[in-house]
Amino acid sequence: MQPSILLVDDEPNIALSLKYVMTRDGYDVRCAEDGERALECIRERKPDLVLLDLMMPKRDGFDVCQTLRADPSFSDVKILMMTARGGAMDGEKALALGADAFFTKPFGVQELSVRVRELLGERDVPA
């Protein structure tokens, strides 16, 4: 079965590109446009990886990440966080809260695609 990815971003223009690339790479892609909706989607059906934007309305990316990591049943979900924010400490905080990778926008779509494959590969090895 193809790995599933939940794309959480409130900006449709980047969501369009990311959804295109992930679908092209053969993943089952769902989309959510805010943190609250993202948690609902994850609880409905657990994805293998969450592509999580930091700045979003309602619940932000850090909040979603921390909530997921607080629930042991989601411990095998990979989290890749992304942000356009300039703060030097955001990456450190994301990793501290349990994210597996952190990307600062702008980034190359190809680069992201490679990292997603790596993360899902890591997951597959022990399985």
Partner: protein, 747 residues
């Protein structure tokens, strides 16, 4: 001509009685002669005998009365007048026992005693009033000194000749490359003076036009200067000192305040409060106050910020214009041929990539910038803990402990304490947490400030909500978020072991080194000012400078031996500045010198300086050049100066400067004051003037320079009493004393 009134009172009274006796005896003898020759020539022998007896008795009686008179009247009068004279010159010595001595003088004694007593009382009251006032002003002076000392602004006060009258510790730190700052020294040796001069000229114009009254900046102007020592940019203000600014009504008078624009020499010649030729309301400019702070970092930060902004606008404009053009064409002409289309797509890809690269670069540059404008300073975890406890107050029921060692951070401590207080209070109020441990650990390029407590991790959503609240005591509508933004940081909460949680806040490490040894300690109350310099006269010839206002450097050297011409070298040189008869302890020079040769053990035994101590120290040329800078135009003073000067002059070529100013020698001054035969060693002079040595410091250059300086200052009053008033006088008597000593040495 003989004047009877020149004689003492007692002698005159004695002479008066002698006159009575002489006249009495003469009358008796004349009477006896008449009786013996005219009345009873037969019994002439008897008559003469009786007459002689009467004459002798008369003389004795007169002598006895004279003695009594002398004892009880003449002598007490003399004594009383002496006592009254003494009381008049020194009322403190007033005695009330005068009445006893003058008991035969009627009411004179008690009256004199009463007068003397009243005078003494009045004197004691005056003394007490003066002592009280002096104490009060001393107290105020101490407060002012403490304020100046701790002021973090650099403060320099100068007279109009640009001589420094006052500077504070910060000025010494910011401007004072060793020895360059000092009382009476010129401002232009520290900073570029042109902006200051320009500002003063502008202020004079503002003053004479009367515009200063309505001007928001009154009599001050902002200046930007460069320091001489290390190209620092200094920003601050120049303000004129006018103890007596022109009165309101003088503003319209054409010859009113305008005359303060006169020649500086005219103005500086006056002492504050001593302006005899001035009409009321026409103040004089006494000098100026210069406040400065180091703007080097701020200016660099500002420049970097401007650079980023300019790069942002210029650097992003072009790629975005290229992107827009290509996208617009692709959008408008969808039926474009495939090969033409791929060209435009390449443009999109390339310009997009370029835009991204620019942004990544700019983000990095932005994060590198130190946040300006906010009062960022170094603070220890201990200090933060204490402030946090203080902020929460004793009634909060929250305990703050410090864990781990003391760590120094660089932050806006006020903002960070307010932020922590807010979070801690929330955790206490909503989760019942009442004890937190504050600690910091190094993590990469940052210090991780942690607040640890027993309980669950703080959820991100709640943290975010709390951070959005405004800070209680902060100016404006500042939130915790704003504080975080200024620090370019982001806090989070995570588990910290068994049932524990912590809040982590990455902060930059301290800028300064906060090890146990801090910068050289300055004396608690340095003599960094002398307002007498406000009225300093510009002496055309240095010889005319009064010793009491002399600027001197009292110095001493330690050497490898006694013979400079035979290869002995300096190993230590120290000097202290003496200004207006005061030793300025804050301004000293104390350096070891690498003599470039072995120091004989016999010499080490005297001064305690070993080969190891001087290894790596500056050579004589370099150290003496710094000493020459320290000296400036001041007069050199040394004990047995020819010895030290021989070493200095031998090194002039290596120094590249000449020590050719006047030199005073405390040995020669002592020889003039106390005679050639007296003991002129530094020890005996110190004992004579009651100057103590710190135990065990004798024969270090600085301690000997200190003792010499104290001796020199103590000599000034007796020299003045002996008519040695100016430097020229002192040099002349020194020459005489030296000539005598040379003559004596020949025998």
């Amino acid at each position: 001509m003989f004047r009877l009134d020149r004689l003492s009172l007692r002698l005159r009274i004695g002479l008066f009685f002698a006159l009575i006796a002489t006249v009495g005896v003469a009358l008796v003898l004349v009477g006896a002669g008449w009786v013996a020759s005219e009345v009873a020539p037969a019994r002439a022998a008897d008559v003469w005998g009786v007459a002689a007896g009467i004459a002798v008795a008369l003389a004795l009686l007169t002598a006895w009365v004279a003695l009594l008179f002398d004892e009880n009247i003449a002598r007490p009068i003399t004594q009383l007048s002496g006592e009254l004279g003494a009381v008049a010159t020194s009322p403190a010595a007033a005695r009330s026992a005068l009445a006893e001595e003058a008991r035969y003088l009627g009411g004179l004694g008690p009256a004199a005693a009463a007068l003397s007593g009243a005078l003494g009382q009045a004197h004691r009251e005056t003394d007490a009033a003066i002592a009280g006032a002096v104490g009060e002003s001393e107290g105020e002076k101490a407060h002012l000194e403490a304020v100046l000392r701790d002021l973090r602004e650099c403060l320099v006060i100068c007279n109009l000749s640009e001589e420094i009258l006052l500077y504070n510790r910060e000025a010494q730190r910011l401007l004072g490359a060793e020895g360059s700052i000092g009382l009476g020294r010129r401002l232009n040796s520290l900073v570029t003076p042109e902006p200051v001069r320009h500002a003063i000229e502008r202020l004079k114009v503002r003053l004479s036009s009367g515009r200063w009254r309505s001007h928001a900046d009154h009599l001050s102007l902002p200046v930007t200067l460069a320091s001489r020592s290390e190209a620092r940019i200094l920003q601050g203000r120049v303000a004129l000192i006018m103890p007596d600014p022109p009165a309101e009504d003088a503003s319209g008078a054409p010859d009113g305040p305008a005359n303060t624009d006169g020649a500086p020499s005219h103005v500086t010649g006056k002492l504050p409060g001593e302006a005899p030729g001035e009409l009321p309301g026409q103040g004089a400019i006494h000098g100026f106050v210069l406040t400065l702070r180091d703007a080097t970092t701020a200016m660099a930060g500002q420049a970097a910020r401007d650079g980023i902004l300019a790069e942002m606008i210029e650097g992003l404009k072009r790629p975005s214009a290229n992107l827009c053009a290509a996208a617009e064409i692709l959008d408008a002409d969808r039926a474009m041929a495939l090969d033409a289309r791929s060209g435009f797509l390449d443009v999109l890809a390339e310009e997009g990539r370029r835009l991204s690269e620019r942004l990544v670069h700019l983000t990095g540059a932005y994060n590198e910038l130190r946040t300006g404008g906010w009062s960022m300073n170094d603070v220890s975890t201990e200090g933060l803990g204490a402030c946090l406890r203080d902020r929460l107050g004793p009634g909060s029921g929250i305990e703050i402990r410090e864990g781990g060692g003391q760590t120094w951070l660089h932050c806006d401590s006020f903002g960070v304490v307010e932020l922590m207080a807010s979070l801690v209070t929330h955790l206490h109020d909503s989760d019942g947490v009442d004890c937190f441990t504050l600690s910091a650990t190094r993590s990469g390029s940052h210090e991780m400030l942690d607040l640890t407590w027993v309980g669950p991790v703080l959820a991100e959503g709640r943290l975010e909500a709390w951070l959005a609240e405004p800070l209680a005591g902060a100016p404006g509508a500042v939130t915790c978020r704003d504080v975080l933004r200024h620090h370019r940081t982001e806090p989070w909460s995570e588990a910290a072991g068994e049932g524990m949680a912590r809040l982590r806040l990455p902060l930059p490490p301290a800028v300064d080194n906060h090890g146990p040894v801090r910068a050289t300690a300055l004396p608690p109350r340095p003599e960094f000012y002398d307002f007498a310099l406000l009225g300093r006269q510009n002496h055309r010839k240095i010889a005319d400078v009064p010793l009491s206002t002399l600027h001197a450097v009292v110095f001493d050297t330690e050497t490898t031996g006694l013979f400079p011409s035979a290869g002995d070298e300096i190993v230590q040189v120290a000097g202290l500045r003496v200004v207006n008869g005061r030793v300025i302890r804050g301004e000293s020079f104390d350096r070891l010198v690498d003599p470039g040769r072995h120091i004989p053990a016999a010499s080490t035994q005297i001064h305690g300086i070993t080969d190891a101590m001087v290894a790596g120290q500056g050579k004589a040329g370099e150290v003496l050049r710094d000493f020459h800078d320290f000296l400036g135009n001041d007069v050199l003073v040394a004990h047995n100066a020819p010895f030290d000067m021989a070493f200095l002059r031998l090194k002039q070529a290596a120094v590249g400067r000449a020590f050719d100013g006047p030199v005073l020698d405390t040995v020669l001054l002592s020889a003039h004051l106390f005679g050639q035969g007296a003991d002129h060693t530094l020890d005996s002079l110190s004992a004579r003037f009651d100057i103590g040595f710190k135990a065990g410091t004798r024969h270090t250059a600085l301690a000997d320079a200190e003792a010499t300086a104290a001796v020199f200052c103590a000599m000034l009053p007796p020299l003045a009493a002996a008519g040695i008033v100016t430097l020229g006088d002192a040099l002349a008597v020194s020459d005489e004393a030296a000539a005598i000593r040379r003559k004596q040495a020949r025998y």
